[in-house]
């Protein structure tokens, strides 16, 4: 076993300005959600029911706290540090990138917390719901704020787990349970990949501090493990952010209550993967593998998601696939990696969060009030819920990238990024264009269709939602508009700090609504026109909805499930083969293993030499003894009578006893004889209650077993012969022999060893006998039929 200096391995992470107040505040911000979750069961009475909306005070206050940094700036001070274990440390750092995400998490969190109070009203498990939600929020904050790679992983896993609990929230529904499992399987798998990636990065860079890792791009550029690290990070990010081919858990996750879908599966958690890519893009962005993979996967995902969204008629499904598409876009942009692309990605994160959250919340309202999410059944709701309709309209426009919404800015930036990509810009632009059109259409279908047109009879009498419900979408719509009109608000508050955090030149970075008439403008116009045209004319939901079923064969989830299924089959078969219930096979496997390894180790070194004197010195009676011993062993093995076998065991015992006599072990002979007789007697006393030997095994297995046992016996013989050819080590035994009388006052050395030198053994041997006796007693007397009283 080798020694690797551990302290040398963990270079203690970069020393922060350790300020207790900062540490306390940051840690409190992250841990507040956990504590809140823990308190939930206790304060169930207080915080639920009519006061449930007050739960949103927690995210709101956090939001306010984080928002305060928008104006006070982040002068590199907000970091804190506490060693935990194995290189993980509770260290948090707030930079621009974290701030964007933190604001989304707490802001949308506050809205969702409030919205849930009304949406989930009357649910008996609302306390759990809030507990999971706040746990999730805390975990997510932890992910984006962690300055330590392992800590990041810790929180990352916690988001997966809380997502598991939230998806499975309707636990009596089997589909929910299944979706939760699938989601956990996929994201958990990714999580473990992340763990591996982080540990590997730690091994390569010698630190787990993310900041310190990011300072060593040259290490990654030269390390042979970079490819592996990248693959692992990709798996982590793609599973979490639902990239093709890991996307399939996300539509399933829509089984969760709508607030959860809004919060976790569109606005925040799925962006954890994006965050991870952002976070590590500075060191990897120059690597071809990084950009190629991200661009390819991003492209596939965004087109795939966009197309699929048109095949769906369930509101949440449509939104889920557009989310996948949007996530693909983000991945794709990070893959391009130019300054424009990163800016576009950062802005698009916010854009998407705003409009998609609004759409989800609206879908929730519709579902809640009409009891259906089927787009084909919906329509004309604008009169029943006018405010919601307005919000939906704004969200749809933003999604389609129509001017004066924030979405327009986002779309523009995307085109900027694709156009400036370089050698493939034309193709990328076309792909982006198609995607944008399709996503826009899908957004229209999801957000405008339910409110437009004629009110179906079935929906007559739909009630208007209460303010708690409509407040959140309206607020999001307003935000979308505000940012759309004056995007410059983001420049110094979020964008530039984020770019700083990503080590990107910030000179001349500013957002504006109007860029003049240029290529990007035309592209936007084409997008808008295409979107509106298709929505008004094509109505894809009418005839495309049958397609997914046909394509199911090829869908990744089908393949994945088939793989899982066949794995389960293999596992079952494997398990049945090994855990067959045949004790003799267990023994056989053990024996063969020992035999194979031991023989492989021993035989090459076997050095014993035959010598005639070994035979010549054997006395007659010794020959007789040996012959009898071997003969009776064979007799025991091959006799058909149990009783004869037992009797012949007796003979073996007596013969061994005589060997002990001849070679100077009288005590041994006595004990051997006594025990042997007792065993025989015991056997006989039990035997008459048992059936006769049956011919149970076939000759073939007998031959096989025979061969194995003979080889084993030979091995033992060889080992013994080898040992006997060594000199006798006498150190201990001569001490015993010399001191047995002088020190321990005993003439029989064996007895002295037993009762004095090794007294504990002897004592414990008696304990064994005693326990055995108790056991036998219990075995004979106690017969419990069914447990419990």
């Amino acid at each position: 076993m080798k020694y690797f200096g551990q302290s040398a391995f963990f270079i203690s992470s970069i020393e922060y300005e350790d300020n207790w107040h900062i540490f306390a505040r940051m840690t409190a911000a992250v841990l507040a959600g956990f504590i809140f979750a823990l308190l939930m069961p206790i304060m169930r009475r207080v915080s639920l029911g009519r006061f449930a909306i007050l739960n949103s005070l927690l995210p709101l206050s956090l939001f306010v706290w984080f928002a305060s940094f928008l104006f006070s700036g982040l002068e590199g001070n907000l970091s804190s540090h506490l060693e935990w274990a194995f290189g993980a440390s509770l260290s948090f750092k707030l930079d621009g990138l974290s701030l964007i995400f933190a604001l989304l998490i707490t802001g949308i969190g506050a809205l969702v917390f409030a919205y849930s109070a009304s949406y989930m009203k009357g649910n008996p498990y609302l306390d759990r719901f809030y507990a999971y939600l706040s746990m999730f929020m805390a975990a997510m904050l932890g992910v984006v704020l962690s300055a330590n790679a392992l800590t990041l992983f810790i929180f990352w896993e916690l988001t997966s787990i809380s997502s598991f609990f939230l998806i499975g929230f309707k636990n009596k529904d089997e589909a929910s349970r299944k979706s939760a499992l699938v989601a956990l399987a996929v994201t958990g798998f990714g999580g473990l990949a992340l763990l591996a990636a982080m540990l590997l990065m730690g091994a390569v860079t010698g630190t787990y501090s993310i900041e310190a890792m990011l300072l060593q791009p040259d290490v990654f550029a030269s390390s042979p493990y970079t490819t592996l690290i990248l693959v692992l990070i990709f798996i982590a990010a793609f599973t979490k952010s639902a990239q093709f081919p890991f996307h399939f858990w996300l539509p399933g996750a829509m089984k969760a209550p709508t607030p959860v879908s809004t919060y976790l599966h569109s606005a925040t958690m799925v962006k954890a993967g994006i965050y991870l890519l952002f976070r590590f893009s500075p060191v990897f962005t120059d690597l071809a593998l990084w950009s190629n993979t991200l661009m390819t996967v991003g492209c596939i995902t965004m087109v795939f998601g966009a197309i699929h969204s048109l095949f769906r008629t369930d509101l949440k499904s449509i939104l889920a696939y557009t989310t996948i598409s949007a996530l693909g876009t983000l991945t794709f942009l990070i893959g391009i990696g130019t300054r424009e692309a990163i800016i576009a990605a950062l802005v698009f994160v916010v854009v998407h969060a705003l409009y998609k959250a609004a759409m989800f919340l609206i879908a929730g309202i519709i579902d809640h009030h009409t009891n259906t999410r089927e787009v084909t059944l919906l329509g004309g709701l604008r009169n029943a819920m006018p405010l919601v309709a307005v919000a939906a309209f704004v969200a749809a426009l933003s999604g389609a990238g129509i001017p004066i919404t924030f979405g327009f800015i986002g779309k523009d930036l995307v085109y900027e990024a694709t156009l400036h990509q370089g050698n493939m810009s034309l193709w990328l632009t076309i792909i982006a264009l198609v995607t944008n059109i399709l996503v826009g259409v899908a957004g229209f279908i999801a957000a405008i269709k339910p409110f437009a047109g004629r009110l179906p009879d079935a929906l007559n009498g739909t009630k208007a939602p209460g303010p708690v419900l409509w407040f959140a979408p309206i607020l999001l719509a307003i935000l979308s508009l505000i940012l759309g009109i004056s995007p410059g608000l983001m420049d110094h508050t979020l964008l530039i700090p984020s770019l700083d955090a990503l080590a990107i030149n910030t000179d001349g970075v500013y957002l504006k609504m109007w860029h003049g008439i240029n290529t990007v403008f035309w592209l936007s116009m084409v997008t808008i026109a295409g979107t509106v045209l298709i929505y008004l004319t094509a109505k894809p939901y009418k005839y495309l909805s049958g397609i997914p079923a046909k394509l199911n064969m090829l869908a990744p989830q089908t393949i994945a499930l088939a793989m899982v299924g066949s794995f389960a089959q293999i596992a079952t078969a494997w398990n049945k083969a090994f855990q067959s219930g045949h004790l003799r096979y267990y023994v056989l496997i053990s024996i063969i293993t020992i035999l194979a390894i031991a023989a492989a180790v021993h035989l090459p070194g076997f050095h014993w030499h035959f010598d005639w004197s070994m035979i010549r010195s054997v006395a007659v009676y010794e020959w007789v003894l040996v012959v009898i011993l071997i003969a009776s062993v064979l007799f025991t093995v091959f006799t058909d009578s149990r009783l004869a076998a037992v009797a012949s065991m007796g003979v073996i015992g007596y013969a061994i006893c005589l060997i002990f006599v001849i070679y100077g072990a009288p005590d041994l002979a006595i004990t051997q004889f006594t025990i042997d007789t007792l065993t025989v007697i015991l056997f006989i006393l039990v035997l008459y209650k048992l059936p006769k030997y049956l011919k149970l095994t076939r000759t073939r297995s007998k031959l096989r077993d025979g061969a194995i046992s003979i080889v084993f016996g030979t091995l033992i013989t060889a080992v013994v012969l080898d040992v006997l050819s060594l000199d006798r080590p006498v150190y201990i035994s001569s001490f015993y022999a010399d001191n047995a009388y002088l020190l321990a006052k005993g003439k029989n050395v064996v007895n002295v060893i037993l009762v004095d030198f090794r007294g504990i053994d002897t004592f414990m041997e008696i304990v064994v006998l005693a326990v055995s006796a108790i056991g036998v007693f219990g075995l004979l007397k106690l017969k419990v039929k069914r447990h419990d009283v």
């Binding site: 009676y621 007789v624 003979v651 007789t677 008459y688």
Partner: protein, 91 residues
Amino acid sequence: MSLNDYLFFVIMPILAAAVLLVFVRFFIGPTITDRVLSLDLLITTGMAIIAVYSILSDQSNFLDIAMIFALIAFLSSVAFSYYLKQRKKND
């Protein structure tokens, strides 16, 4: 010829031959009682061997073993006959 030589080259071979003969009966049976009987006789012969051996090695302690043989050897015969009766009864 000394006593030891005599014991070693005459008595021991006779006893060994006896043991072999008894073992032949043990081997061929044919009934279980034959085997039990030969087991009994084997032990008795063993006692004789031990006695001779104690002279050969000048160790009177070996006689303790013979004592134990004498004391408990017949127990297995008792058990066997008990068994045979019981089995008959149970059939």
